[in-house]
């Protein structure tokens, strides 16, 4: 890895970023940063396998998993450990020994440090599971204008409570690390997680379109 090669890589990388972001509204700097990190992961993965085998020997499924993992980890690492979901995502990824090489190349020296921070916070959060859904329900402004019997009100309230409880559980399973968060943190993390997912999908779609553009149909 001489200096010349690095310069060439940077030029090509900038060109690729240019290709990917063209033809659509300019993306945020977060998306650009995500793309760069993602490319690091993709490159590292193909390098580890390309010693004796050609790229075609990696199955479509294997490559897909690598692409997806790189994308998820790239987006999570942009958070620099400031959100629970990103820490949980990286922690979960590191549980699989096969991912170690990829994670090391993408996260570098921060890799071990991030893991230690993550486990401490998780154990603290474990004890904070709060299941109070009353405020959540009230905050959505269920104010009925017409009169209904107290009996009906009580029953509707109970059902609403049960629904909210059930759906909050589902949300916990969808957000990385959601099982350990209190209700307030869960919603905060959900907001951030959704924003990140949208950015990730946008960049992945652009790359897919750019790749499709450059292959014969």
């Amino acid at each position: 890895m001489g200096g010349e090669e690095d310069d060439d890589d940077e030029d090509e990388e900038d060109a690729l970023v240019g290709v990917v972001i063209s033809r659509m509204p300019p993306p945020s700097s977060i998306k650009k940063e995500f793309l760069k990190k993602w490319l690091v992961g993709l490159k590292a993965l193909s390098n580890s396998r390309s010693s004796s085998t050609s790229k075609k020997e990696m199955s479509v499924l294997e490559r897909k998993k690598a692409i997806k993992l790189s994308a998820d980890v790239a987006m999570a690492s942009l958070k620099n450990g400031t959100t629970s979901w990103s820490r949980a995502l990286i922690q979960n990824a590191s549980k699989d020994g096969n991912n170690r090489t990829l994670l090391k190349s993408m996260l570098g020296s921060e890799y071990d440090k991030k893991l230690r921070i993550g486990s401490t916070t998780t154990s603290i959060m474990c004890s904070k599971g709060i299941r109070n859904t009353t405020v959540l329900r009230r905050s959505c402004g269920l104010r009925r204008a017409r009169k209904i019997s107290k009996d009906q009100r009580v029953r509707a309230g109970l059902m609403a409570k049960r629904l909210v409880k059930k759906r909050t559980q589902v949300l916990r399973s969808l957000v990385p690390g959601g099982e350990y968060m209190d209700e307030y943190s869960l919603f905060e993390e959900t907001l951030d997680y959704i924003m990140s997912l949208r950015a990730q999908v946008d960049v992945m779609r652009r790359l897919a379109n750019a790749s499709a553009f450059s292959s014969k149909s």
Binding site: K43, V60, K64, R138, S139, C140, L197
Partner: protein, 91 residues
């Protein structure tokens, strides 16, 4: 743990109703399904349901795009300049 002033160490009692209301309204604005109907009252369970659906859809998109990219990158046209760039960076 004493002396920590983060929200998460508040134990629930310090989280005001206003903060939760604020969060829920932000969620409402974010979810395309509900956003257009902001003037109507949307129930908490509806917000949660649409949020979960939205996240699931995003997960599926990531999965589909990963699949698509996996196939594209395997069969990329070697003649176009973009292909050369992409291949040298990713392959």
């Amino acid at each position: 743990m004493s002396g920590r002033r983060s929200r998460q160490s508040g134990g629930g009692s310090r989280i005001s109703d206003d903060q939760i209301i604020d969060l829920v309204s932000k969620l409402q604005q974010l979810i395309p399904e509900i956003r257009s109907r902001r003037s109507e009252k949307v129930s908490a369970s509806k917000v949660l349901q649409e949020t979960c659906n939205y996240i699931r859809n995003l997960h599926r998109e990531v999965d589909d795009l990963s699949e698509r990219l996996s196939q594209l990158l395997a069969t990329i046209d070697t003649d176009s300049p973009e292909a050369a760039i992409i291949r040298s960076l990713i392959m």
